[in-house]
Each structure stands twice: as structure tokens, then as C-alpha cells.
């Protein structure tokens, strides 16, 4: 579990983008199934880190995107949240991974008056 150090990297990125700590309402992030990041533990750690570093108690909004795969046998492109099922057209598990490693801080939101 390394979500604590990850949460600190996130507040560093956010602080840099908005010019230092300030209370936030929401933090929007995207996580792919091949990022190795657990949404649950990230939520827990981020709450602790955000509060202790002066970012208030923002809601962490996590968008879990699917991985994009392409079947090597029939060329169908498909989405998957895990990797147990094969191609929806032909069932093959021969495939290339096109995406799924995403882990980004997308944006932050706060009240106008809340500065």
C-alpha cells in the first residue's frame, strides 16, 4: 500500500497548480485498471493528507475508466474493467492493451468566497 505517498504527490501537484494550499470542495481524479492504484485506500489517505496540509476536506471524485483492448484474432476493440473475459466477439484472450494505465489529477473545485 503506497497510497499515502501517492496522496502527498497529489497535494504537491495541486498546491503547485493553485499557488499553495487552500480549502477545496472537490478534487477530480481518473484511475485506470492498470494503474495499480486502489480507489478505496486512496480515498482514505487523501482525506488525511489534504486536511493536514491545509486543503480542507474536499470530496475526492474518482472516475474509474475501463482499459481499452484490441483483439489480435479478430481486431475488435473493446473495453474492460478487469482482464478475465476475452474478446466480446470471438472470446480470444490474445490482445493488445491500448490504454488503462491512467492516473491523473484532472481538476479541483472550490467556492468563490472560500479563499
Amino acid at each position: 500500500m503506497h497510497e499515502l505517498s501517492i496522496a502527498k504527490d497529489m497535494t504537491t501537484i495541486i498546491g503547485k497548480a493553485i499557488g499553495g494550499p487552500r480549502p477545496l470542495d472537490r478534487v477530480n481524479v481518473t484511475i485506470g485498471p492498470l494503474s495499480g492504484i486502489s480507489a478505496e485506500s486512496l480515498r482514505f489517505c487523501f482525506g488525511e493528507v489534504a486536511r493536514s496540509e491545509g486543503f480542507g476536506e474536499p470530496e475526492l471524485v474518482i472516475t474509474l475508466v475501463a482499459a481499452r483492448l484490441v483483439c489480435l484474432d479478430c481486431e475488435t476493440e473493446y473495453n474492460a474493467k478487469d482482464f478475465y473475459d476475452g474478446c466480446p466477439s470471438c472470446g480470444s484472450i490474445n490482445r493488445n492493451i491500448l490504454s488503462g494505465r491512467e492516473f491523473t489529477v484532472d481538476s479541483v473545485e472550490f467556492d468563490e468566497g472560500n479563499s
Binding site: 505517498s5 504537491t12 493553485i18 495499480g36 476475452g86 488503462g100 491523473t104 479541483v108 472550490f110
Partner: protein, 224 residues
């Protein structure tokens, strides 16, 4: 210019791993410029990473250097040194993975320019999840899966097994006692990673070790 503090939504669109990745790029550059092939060896605890490195030390001698990552103790570094190559231990002090910044500091303890060193192997902390997202500056990730762990682990840890260049299935000497299906593990690994190179190995009996070392030697020569 608009003041971001006045907007109530600020777009950031930044990869969280970008800081680590810039340290990794620096390490990679340094190692490449010295013609050193770098491996990031990842497995669960006890799969046989250090045993493999001991066997590799027998093959490469001082042409191999090792960085050991463990939560605590210098034990693994001492084992590898005893087997005949240089080793530096990083004690992560609780962290479940190595990061590129720590590896960069460890590199200062080696003479990379002496021309003797052709392979640097980094033994990551035993863990199938956390190390997978942290590039260290390696040329390739080597995933070790040992037969007692079960043949179903590949698809359970896709973030690792989709990123490895080499899969080593270790402890093949135990296969007669287990229901581990080698074909299944290989098939599922290829389903995440069609180009993965596979070696079957017993670090205990030495089976497969030489074949693996010859492969690395070939890769290191390509690097020069």
C-alpha cells in the same frame, strides 16, 4: 492573464507519477550512457529474487551490480555480496516499493564509468502491486512468479504482469508437488503482454539460470 484563484474550477490534468518519472528518466539516461543494462526485478515476498541474483552473480561476477530494496535489514545485500558482486542496500523504512529518486541516490555509490559493469539488477521490495507503477529508470521489468504462489496470479495483478518484458517462473523443482499449470500462467501473461519473454527456472537446482543469463548478456551487448 486570468488569476486561477478567482475561478472556481481549475484544470490540472497532471499525471500523478510525473515526478517519479522525471527521476526515472534521469537514471535511465545515466545508465544508458554508461552502456549498462538495468533490470527492475519484481515479485511477491519469497518468490526467489535474491536467490536468482546469487545465481546471476555466479555467472556475471563483477560485471553485475545489485541494488537491494527492502523495508529493513542489509541481509539481501550481504547474500549477493557473498555470491561475488557489488551490492548496495536501500532500506525503505516502511515503504512497499522503490522509487526512482531513491535509486538515483543509490547509484552514487557505484562507479558506473569503470567499464567493468554491464548489468545492474534492482531487487524491488517483495510486492506484486505497489512497485508496478514506479519506473526506476530500468531497461526492463522482470516479473518473477514462483510455483507455490499458484498459476492464477497473473490476471489478479495485471498492472505488473502487463508491464514486464520478462516473466521468470521460478521454483520449477517443486512442480511435481503442486497443481501449478505453467501453460496457463504463460498464456494469461501473454494475454496482457503478447511480447513477454518467458523463462522456466529453479534457482535451487540451477535449471534455466544459464539460459536466462545468456539472454541478458545478449541484451547487454545490444546496449553497447
Amino acid at each position: 492573464m486570468k488569476d486561477p484563484r478567482r475561478d472556481n474550477k481549475v484544470d490540472i490534468a497532471t499525471r500523478v507519477m510525473s515526478r517519479n518519472d522525471s527521476f526515472a528518466a534521469r537514471n535511465h539516461e545515466l545508465l544508458r550512457s554508461n552502456d549498462i543494462l538495468t533490470l527492475n526485478i519484481i515479485s511477491s515476498p519469497g518468490a526467489g529474487k535474491t536467490s536468482l541474483l546469487e545465481a546471476m552473480a555466479g555467472f556475471f561476477g563483477p560485471g553485475l551490480a545489485v541494488i537491494e530494496g527492502d523495508v529493513r535489514t542489509r541481509r539481501d545485500a550481504e547474500r549477493v555480496e557473498k555470491a561475488g558482486c557489488k551490492a548496495y542496500q536501500i532500506e525503505t523504512g516502511g515503504s512497499c516499493h522503490l522509487d526512482a529518486e531513491a535509486v538515483g541516490k543509490a547509484l552514487e555509490h557505484f562507479d558506473l564509468t569503470d567499464g567493468e559493469l554491464s548489468i545492474l539488477a534492482i531487487e524491488n521490495v517483495g510486492n506484486l502491486i505497489c512497485p508496478s507503477g514506479y519506473d526506476l529508470g530500468e531497461d526492463m521489468k522482470v516479473g518473477l512468479l514462483s510455483t507455490p504462489e499458484g498459476d492464477d496470479k497473473v490476471l489478479k495483478y495485471p498492472s505488473l504482469f502487463s508491464r514486464i518484458a520478462v516473466l521468470v517462473i521460478n521454483k520449477t523443482d517443486l512442480l511435481p508437488m503442486l497443481d501449478f499449470d505453467v501453460d496457463r500462467a504463460v498464456r494469461e501473461c501473454r494475454s496482457l503482454n503478447p511480447n513477454v519473454v518467458v523463462f522456466l527456472m529453479s534457482a535451487r537446482t540451477g535449471e534455466g539460470v544459464e539460459e536466462f543469463c545468456r539472454f541478458l548478456k545478449g541484451q547487454a551487448e545490444l546496449e553497447e
